[in-house]
């Protein structure tokens, strides 16, 4: 029983257990810490410039991007762009994912190649999407505009959203589909009436991830959406975006304008936070019938 060898071994195992536990807790604390630090910094630096006029007015005051007025142009531009792009991406993601999961045979060439393509597209830097969008734009004779920006961001979001929905849909139990088939439902009826319902929270989350990526991306809209002081009133007008507003404001030599960059960053973060909270609430509402 009191074998010293096994005693030593036990101590060693306990030590390893303790070491890795500390490592895990430490890493978790690091993540939460950085999140708080980022939000804290942005708010601390942006607070002086953050005012009601910041979110209700377009830039004014002469200097480059304005010392006064606000960033309403960029807020509205970003929301238009990201919402439009997310809607377009969803419109294309759903049929693709339904096809992959219901019509293409599992591990068929089509399915494997499509998923591989999405993984590659996911990894392509957004400036490349921007460049590609620019080529498309020139080809169709468009100027930098809300339309061109939305299409480019939709392209950027498409692989993210498709893969996210695909992962959720692959987790739907086969038996659930069989239950629907055995009642005489077609693949399409099963996909739309049962599986989409079951996946709704996942689809919402996928939409949120894609939206966050879309609203936060600067490189893809740099050449395609352009920049303007005005709130766009047509799809063919250029549109300002928050990431670019931050980029331009930070690049000025005026400290007052640079402060406004942090305020813009705070607004952008707040928008993402708000949308996360709202969709959390929606997910709760939609999960009522989900089979766990």
């Amino acid at each position: 029983m009191n074998n010293p060898l096994s005693d030593g071994r036990l101590r060693r195992r306990k030590w390893i257990e303790g070491f890795f536990k500390i490592l895990m807790v430490g890493s978790t604390a690091l993540v939460i810490g950085s999140l708080l630090l980022i939000i804290g910094t942005i708010i601390w630096k942006g607070l002086p410039a953050l005012s009601l006029s910041m979110v209700t007015q377009t830039p004014k005051g002469g200097y480059y991007l304005g010392k006064e007025g606000g960033i309403l142009n960029a807020i509205v531009g970003s929301l238009y762009l990201a919402l439009g792009a997310t809607a377009i991406a969803l419109l294309f993601s759903l049929p693709i994912v339904l096809y992959l999961n219901f019509y293409a045979r599992r591990n068929s060439k089509t399915a494997v190649i499509t998923r591989f393509a999405f993984d590659v597209l996911w990894g392509i830097p957004s400036i490349v999407y921007g460049a590609f969008g620019f080529v498309l734009m020139v080809f169709f004779g468009l100027r930098a505009s809300l339309l061109a920006g939305t299409i480019t961001v939709a392209l950027l979001e498409l692989p993210i959203m498709s893969r996210a929905i695909d992962e959720v849909m692959r987790l739907v139990p086969k038996e659930l589909e069989e239950a629907s088939y055995s009642l005489g439902a077609t693949r399409f009826e099963t996909a739309v009436k049962v599986v989409l319902k079951q996946c709704l929270p996942g689809i919402l989350t996928a939409g949120l991830i894609a939206f966050g990526r879309g609203i936060g991306d600067a490189a893809s809209v740099l050449f395609t959406a352009g920049f303007t002081d005005r709130v766009p009133t047509s799809l063919l007008q250029p549109a300002a975006t928050l990431p670019l507003a931050i980029f331009f404001q930070l690049g000025t030599p005026f400290p007052e304008v640079r402060d406004r960059a942090y305020a813009s960053a705070a607004v952008l973060t707040l928008i993402i936070l708000l949308i996360s909270l709202v969709s959390r609430g929606l997910v709760k509402k939609f999960t009522k019938h989900i089979i766990k």
Partner: protein
């Protein structure tokens, strides 16, 4: 209605099923009697569920499987070129091992089938829901909460809901894949009793690994062993006097 004792409802002819190189069912020839309970028994992995799922073509829903031979339901070859798979499945209600309710309310679970087959009238649907919940013995328990999520029911209630849902598309055949294996004894008894009641109007085919259950409810026994149909016949005869040594060994509990 006069019952014809020898009438068969499903005829299986030279059925072979392959999963890749694995020969899962070997040349099965079998007639499943009309309006009786047929129990498919045999050790795990002998092809019971494969045989059951070949009956409503769930087997070929997922690919990776090759099926040879014929299965005639009411004289129609369900693997024939003319066969319409949704029509075939509508003829057969399925009870799976673990009840699979659909992600919707109790009411919508039952109305799902009738709706996809064209029933849109609320009054009719209400009547269907009530009727089949009563048949499955669930009505009294759920009448006040029809619009609550089906997933909140107990497992036993869920299985009865699945039965009601299957019956609501007016099938002729009820297939059960170890339908009581996830249930507590009381719920199992409920399901068994309902199946016995239902054989008045339906042909019932149940896969079971519980021999006592087969003895309690089956009229006809099909014994599979390693993908082969070893023995089939009237339950009383098979249980009393199995002619194949493998059946005898299985019934004695020597192989399982």
């Amino acid at each position: 209605m006069k019952r014809d004792e020898t009438k068969s409802h499903i005829s299986i002819r030279n059925l072979n099923v392959f999963y890749g190189d694995d020969h899962a069912l070997k040349n099965i020839n079998l007639d499943i009697p009309d309006r009786k309970i047929t129990a498919i028994i045999g050790p795990s992995g002998c092809g019971k569920t494969t045989l059951l799922k070949s009956l409503n073509r769930l087997l070929d829903a997922n690919g990776g499987v090759r099926i040879d031979g014929q299965i005639l339901v009411d004289g129609e070859d369900i693997y024939g070129k003319q066969a319409e798979v949704t029509h075939i499945r509508k003829k057969m209600g399925l009870l799976s091992q673990k009840p699979q309710v659909l992600p919707m309310s109790i009411y919508d679970n039952i109305a799902y089938g009738p709706r996809i087959h064209g029933q849109r009238k609320k009054k009719q649907l209400d009547a269907i829901v009530e009727h089949y919940l009563k048949v499955a013995g669930l009505w009294e328990e759920v009448r006040g909460r029809l619009h609550q999520p089906a997933s909140r029911l107990s497992v036993g209630q869920q299985q009865r809901l699945c039965l009601a849902r299957g019956l609501a598309v007016e099938p002729e055949i009820i297939l059960g894949d170890e339908p009581t294996s996830a249930l507590d004894p009381q719920s199992s008894q409920n399901v068994e009793r309902t199946l016995v009641e239902l054989k008045e109007d339906y042909t019932v085919v149940v896969v079971t690994h519980i021999l006592r259950q087969a003895r309690r409810i089956a009229d006809y026994i099909v014994f599979l062993f390693l993908g082969e149909l070893v023995e089939h016949g009237q339950a009383a005869e098979v249980f009393a006097d199995p002619w194949d040594p493998r059946t005898r060994a299985y019934l004695k509990g020597e192989i399982s």
